[in-house]
Amino acid sequence: MSSESSKKRKPKVIRSDGAPAEGKRNRSDTEQEGKYYSEEAEVDLRDPGRDYELYKYTCQELQRLMAEIQDLKTRGGKDAAVEIEDRRIQSCVHFMTLKKLNRLAHIRLKKGRDQTHEAKQKVDAYHLQLQNLLYEVMHLQKEITKCLEFKSKHEEIDLVSLEEFYKEAPPDISKAEVTMGDPHQQTLARLDWELEQRKRLAEKYRECLSNKEKILKEIEVKKEYLSSLQPRLNSIMQASLPVQEYLFMPFDQAHKQYETARHLPPPLYVLFVQTTAYGQACAHMKSSQPPRQDKTLSVAIEGNVDEAKALFKPPEDSQDDESDSDAEEEQTTKRRRPTLGVQLDDKRKEMLKRHPLSVILDLKCKDDSVLHLTFYYLMNLNIMTVKAKVTTATELIIPISAGDLLSPDSVLSCLYPGDHGKKTPNPANQYQFDKVGILTLRDYVLDLGHPYLWVQKLGGLHFPKEQPQHAVIADHSLSASHMETTMKLLKTRVQSRLALHKQFASLEHGIVPVTSDCQYLFPAKVVSRLVKWVTIAHEDYTELHFTKDIVEAGLAGDTNLYYMALVERGTAKLQAAVVLNPGYSSIPPIFQLCLNWKGEKTNNNDDNIRAMESEVNVCYKELCGPWPSHQLLTNQLQRLCVLLDVYLETESHDDSVEGPKEFPQEKMCLRLFRGPSRMKPFKYNHPQGFFSHR
């Protein structure tokens, strides 16, 4: 094409060189007519590079011609005009060429634009198509995931395990050969089996229901029969009463008591049940006789049953009542304005109110003395109290010093260590007391009875030590676990108190009542005599100068009883301050001595007085006598007399003093002194009757 274009142009250039402009125009006209639109097609045929060359060349030519015209004009010759004309024509030709080139350039530009536009449209179409496709892909993907996430209902069904399925399902359902390899088929088979089983179970359920229905009906029938039986039985019971009475079989009486027991508050009820049970168990153990014959422990309920019943009314009513009464109370207070003291007093009374019923427990000891215990329940404080009374078979002469021994206030004091029954065991009570201005329960104890800890335990009430406002429920097992020990303790307490009582009666008359089975503990001849046995106050005891050690050791609490004994022989007077622990005789009485003879001698300045105290206090076990060692106090006092004899008789004689010894040595001693602290031979050896050192 380029060769063609170059061919075409060549003649043109030549023509433009040689031929006149008209000719050329003509020809182009004809050409234009021949090819209706030549230039547009021409553009395609021409090389733009060549056109550019042509353009450059034309411009050069024009420049050259212009320069020549200028040159000619300046020279201004004759023939210059011709030459100029010639040149002008050439220039015109060149301008024509330039114009042509310009047109061509325009056409090319337009063409280029068209092409670009076309291409752009194509690209746009493709782009749109691509987007459509992408969207389609996305949609399809979504569909796929939806499909994948589809959950069949069967997955929720709990199927039997595979092994079980193959073991139990019949082969026509399990189809092992098919299902083994194909999990889909397998699942289908398993579902089939499940359906089968469920159908069966539903069947069974229906059967059971009908069965139940049947049984219910039967029960109904039997109930009717039983209720018709009750009146008949009652009539038989009524008829049998005379027979019971005749045969001394108080079943009915016991029954009545149980009936009353139903109205007891829970703690008293627990106490009642447990004591009755324990009493029966004891009686059974002791003899094969029927239980009613041998009663060391008898239980009874006392009090107004109707009042107790009234207390048991449904709680809503009582609450209403309370609120009503509260409102009334408010009104009345507004109206009457009673003094604050009266109001507080009423509140106190209300707080300390006892349950109308009480349990009476009679504990009979071997010597026919009876300990009467009355248990009360303080409803608002949720504690139990006890009042004790001891009656003896024979009338006792009450020694002055024994005043406190059997008093209801102290007879049960410290049954367990530290349990003096003067503080409320329920920590919650203190808050209640604060409200009504009660300082301590101690002031009311005489009236209400003592709230000993063991009483609470017998009633199954367990109070935590450091948790106020803790719900306390009556518990049978707690009561049962404490029953036996407590009953035993109660018995020993009464017996030991009675024994002390008897001993005190003789002691006050200066007689140390050594029983025959303890005689072997002492030599036959004892010269020292007890001359005084009096009770003293705790304060007086603590003020004595020779009891400081005991007080400092914390052995002189105010729950103990205190006595002063005086043992005399000749001019020697031995004072003994005695601490009697309420736990006598498992806890021995403690003696502190002060001898007035040739100056005052106490354990501080005389090792042998110290040894005598130790003999009585520490070595008391050999003085206990036969079990239950109630004679301990007597034996200790007798021992003290013996010790004083030994002390006085073995006192080394002062050579410088003239005259016979005041106390000639009558006791047989192996040696007078022994050891670095020069102990005297205080130990008595029974069958031989001599004294030796410990």
């Binding site: 301590t440 052995l555 300045n605 670095p676």
Partner: protein, 341 residues
Amino acid sequence: MERAMPQAVPLGQMEVLQALQRLHMIIFSQNVSPCGKFLAAGNNYGQIAIFSLSASLSSEAKEESKKPMVTFQAHDGPVYSMVSTDRHLLSAGDGEVKAWLWAEILKKGCKELWRRQPPYRTSLEVPEINALLLVPKENSLILAGGDCQLHTMDLETGTFTRALWGHTDYIHCLALRERSPEVLSGGEDGAVRLWDLRTAKEVQTIEVYKHEECSRPHNGRWIGCLATDSDWMVCGGGPALTLWHLRSSTPTTIFPMRAPQKHVTFYQDLILSAGQGRCVNQWQLSGELKAQVPGSSPGLLSLSLNQQPAAPECKVLTAAGNSCRVDVFTNLGYRAFSLSF
């Protein structure tokens, strides 16, 4: 919660019995371990308690460190006397002497190593042993007490080699004269006898109660304690506490102390004595009372000076007697604290 008056807590049976036992305890003997850090104390119930002096003296001592590390039942009767060799603790009281290994005691495994009983003549009552004395030169132990004799036991073989006769009543105390192998013994009969160990003979007798200056007939004749230093001897008991010059057998100083003394010892240029009464008395040799340091017991029976060079920080004076407490004096003028059973 009830606002009751403060009161003594009522005690259970066991607590009362324990309190009574403690109340009536007498500590008869004490001895410092060879390492100087421990103190053994024996009481009238036959128990020996081991206290750690180093723990109780340390700056971070608590109440527990004043309680015994170990307490064990050593004898049936009271433990009247104890001495220590470099490995053993020897204790005696009711007629027998028993040996315990210090190393084992401190490990709390208290099994007696051996026990010996001197040959007694009487069988009715076993005589007690009031005093033990080690004679390091002979590697022997001298026992004296209820049968009025001094028994010498060879510690190597454990046999009783000789018995020294002479006292007419039981013997309270023994003392060794370091330079010449001579032993002093004082007894209930009021005599101080000087024995020569080489010849096994009595060399000298001082019957103290016969000297008017020091005799106190209302207190009895008995010699309860004695100590010796070169030619000097100090003894006391029923008669007044007296300093004697041995070679001339004359009393040189009589110490003005009314109460009978139960223990006496020389300490540097002082004499320490204790007995009836709460105080540890310190005397100048001239007879002046230098100081009286009160202790916590109503009567003292033994003093022990811990002078073991191994434990200079535990150099203390301990005193024990009619109580369950052992008073510890860190310097001579002041009771620091009490160890307690």
